[in-house]
């Protein structure tokens, strides 16, 4: 599904990613871990097409197509979803309106008819249960005045509505208490399909108690310094990141 080969990217001329190679197949869950500043979030943003990052080398193939040549909205329409570390507030725009606009943008790109507000409400009501969200949240402005946990749940709600092929969760666990974490994790697990893949970007092992990855990659200094199975995450939890960084240095 996703093939990243020797990917280099920089922001404002400063190189952040220095040669990432990673293959993600359908049905797999990959955890990308690493210390602060290792380039984890940059990788997520680059995959989603944030304009602040410049790709300086390598390539990213998504279902065989060059992701770098697609605008961010085209990637989204084709099933690439990023759950934001810091979801953005859009005052005055109701969550329901926003969700429907996003849903319809994707349908339109697929050549399907747009759904009207009533149809959409029926559809979204099912998904609300998944993240244990009050339907009243649909009528509030997008993320405005939401608590940290509500924002993260709202991201998962969007993911549930948009049913992405490739979901990238950027530090979705940060700032969540244990109950919220469980709700978010349950949501992600319930959305797992053999034809979809997930990349979890996280600093802590905690999330991986709830969402069990098939592969764990450790990012440091803009490169993947170690890959392994889920047990690698536990080792990191026990030993920290330093031993890996030393080995690289």
């Amino acid at each position: 599904m996703l093939e990243i080969r020797d990917l280099h990217a920089s922001v404002d001329g400063t190189p952040i990613l220095k040669g990432i190679t990673l293959t993600v197949n359908a049905g797999e869950v990959h955890a990308v871990m690493g210390p602060n500043g290792s380039g984890k979030s940059t990788l997520a943003q680059v995959l989603a097409g944030h304009p602040a990052y410049e790709i300086t080398g390598g390539e990213m193939l998504y279902n065989g197509e060059n992701l770098a040549e697609m605008d961010a909205e085209v990637r989204a329409q084709q099933g690439v979803f990023l759950a934001f570390q810091y979801p953005v507030e859009i005052p005055g725009v109701s969550n329901a309106y926003f969700l429907r606009a996003a849903y319809n943008a994707k349908r339109k790109a697929q050549g399907l008819d747009e759904v009207d507000p009533m149809e959409f409400l029926d559809l979204v009501e099912e998904q609300l249960k998944l993240v244990d969200m009050d339907p009243a949240m649909l009528h509030r402005s997008v993320n405005a005045g939401f608590s940290g946990g509500e924002k993260k749940r709202n991201e998962i709600l969007q993911m549930a509505v948009l049913t992405p092929s490739l979901a990238i969760l950027d530090e979705t666990d940060s700032g969540l208490d244990i109950d919220a974490l469980r709700i978010v994790a349950n949501g992600v697990n319930a959305l797992k399909r053999p034809e979809n893949a997930t990349i979890l970007v996280t600093h802590y092992q905690r999330l991986l108690n709830y969402i069990v990855p098939d592969y764990v990659h450790v990012l440091a200094g803009g490169r993947i310094v170690k890959s392994g199975g889920k047990e690698l995450a536990l080792e990191l939890e026990a030993r920290g990141y330093d031993w890996l960084l030393e080995a690289v240095a």
Partner: protein, 477 residues
Amino acid sequence: MSATIDQLVNREYQYGFSTDIESDTLPPGLSEDTVRFISAKKNEPEWLLEWRLKAYRRWLTMKEPHWPNVTYPPIDYQASSYYSAPKSVKPLGSLDEVDPKLLETYAKLGISLNEQKRLSGVAVDAVFDSVSVGTTFREELAKEGIIFCSFSEAVREHGDLVRQYLGSVIPYSDNFFAALNSAVFSDGSFCYIPKGVRCPMELSTYFRINQETTGQFERTLIVADEGSYVSYLEGCTAPKRDTNQLHAAVVEIVALDNATVKYSTVQNWYAGDENGLGGIYNFVTKRGKAMKNSKISWTQVETGSAITWKYPSVILQGDNSVGEFYSVAVASKMQQADTGTKMIHIGRNTKSNIVSKGISAMKGQNSYRGKVHILPKAEGARNYTQCDSMLVGNECGAHTFPYIEVQNNSAILEHEASTSKIGEDQIFYLKQRGLDAEQAVSMIVSGFCKEVFKELPMEFALEAQQLLGITLEGSVG
């Protein structure tokens, strides 16, 4: 992507066409003779000519105001023509006799004056350059005793009413542009709602400037008698020209006891191009006087004009009267807007509510200027002001000039202000959900303006939202 952005920036101003029609146009220049000519052309009574001349003489002693936060080269008031009318417009002509070219012009603007195709529920007075070319639904309105006609006709047919209220809210000496308007105003709309009548449809005036060197100086007078209600809408467009054209209008509203007047404007004069060439200079005085228990509500969506200088205000004269001002002002390209309101609290328990949303994009400069004045006798007065600015891009500016004067200690005033910037992150968030850049900006801006849009009559809220989308297209790269 930048190719589409460029395309969008260069999108034509939709209403930029001009109509080739034979007109009676006065040569450029302004003197007492000009004033006499206009008055004579309209067969006006002596009192009105005298009023115009007093205004003109007063104007000569006044100086153009330069306190607004806008810059433009000096205006040569002798270079403008002060009267232009299509030759084919006959006084008192019925709509069936309107020149097909004019009907076509309005049809192109989306305003149908044809009997069959009229927008249901909205009566329109169409003003073309200096004259009214037709007013729809007059008979239906007359059944309720409502007078809705061109200003010129009102002077002829309802002279006493006009004489009683003309200048009663905005005297000819009020300010430089109001004085100029009082001297040379050519036409406009007049509306009178009798006691206790709720006007059954929206009334609307559509202003169109066509002639190249003509200034437009129209005057609207709305009188809502005791216990009546009316909702009024004003729309305006002009052809795309390389020269700047002057528009100095006056709108006066009188709301007698227990009356409610809602006045909404969607202003879309030609704004000039991205280098600041051409566009309308929009210097407008709008004010209402609210008597006991009455309410005057201004809603404006200002997207056009090269320069906007406009402060729709309410004099809260009667006890318990209410004044409202809801505004969305956009300054894009090289536009400069200095707009806001004045709420003058005179009566007891008077209330005013101000919600201003300023959007600046490209090289636009947007200023909110507002005054809240609580006079000594305004016991229990209340004001709430919310003033939000949004910036799109790095080359634009937003400015706020609030003036507050309180002379009664029982007054309660609240003022909230915010400035936000449409950031790359907000747009990226929406793009990541599959929306393109234009949709993203339009969604963010609509959300920002929501509180104002909900005050507009339904049909026009949609129009305003679309207009805003078009105005801001291309401002995000």
